[in-house]
Symmetry: C2
Subunit: 129 residues, 2 copies
Amino acid sequence: MISFEDFILEDNGPIYLQIIRYVKRGIVSGSIANGEEMISRRALSALLGVNPNTIQKAYHLLEEEGIIRSRSGAKSCVEVDERQKEEIRRSLLVQDTLTWVQAMQQMGVEKEAALRLAEDIWGDSGEKR
Amino acid sequence: MISFEDFILEDNGPIYLQIIRYVKRGIVSGSIANGEEMISRRALSALLGVNPNTIQKAYHLLEEEGIIRSRSGAKSCVEVDERQKEEIRRSLLVQDTLTWVQAMQQMGVEKEAALRLAEDIWGDSGEKR
DNA sequence: TAAAGTGTATTATATGACTCATACACTTTT
DNA sequence: AAAAGTGTATGAGTCATATAATACACTTTA
């Protein structure tokens, strides 16, 4: 079951979008597999200290995107085929990277300097290994 | 004068934060110099098609951060010393890069693959040269 | 079967972001 | 001095986000 153990609530954007992003990134990394059960809306609400309606909004949008499947009464499940997974992967990778690259370019940072900085910070930041 | 010619209104976040970000990045890149005049609030409002109050909020926060200086009746001016410039530079560079690195790591992307992707996208995105 | 858990829906309230309209005092320009 | 431009302030209204309190039908579990 997707427990949202390592999910951390940020203050950058709407909570429901953070939840959607967390699920999508989990699918891309493989930590969230097809067919897996989602934690219930009420349980996640209690875990994060967030209103149930906010969780419902995130789950509802995930279902509209065809990423999870809900049957009234039972827990929601992840339901993505390989084509969807690859589409999500490309979308997130390109979008996040483009955002960063444009930021660096707007600040007049040279490509080599930017890549070196990223390499430095990569090490400082939790090295998943 | 800072004309906001190349400023583009995004739909990611609050407009007043986008304006603040634009000014800060301009200072970092050197395209916005110390002592330079800001475009007037009403003029920027008309240029962007955004309410004057939204512009005022951005300018007011920029003044609270000690980045611009306003005299009632005259145009606002940029007023930053070298220490502030360096502080803004470090803050923006580290924060933007950290955000990107963490995104890549959460998606299980290897460092080399991430850097290669960034290098690819760097070329596609408007090469300021 | 009965209880607990779950998805779903409704109404209400509060806050932040943005818009619209207007007003006043100050500076620059004519 | 007069006009135009500018910074600053106020009050009202809309929309998105998040909260709060219930309620009902369905599935799973004891």
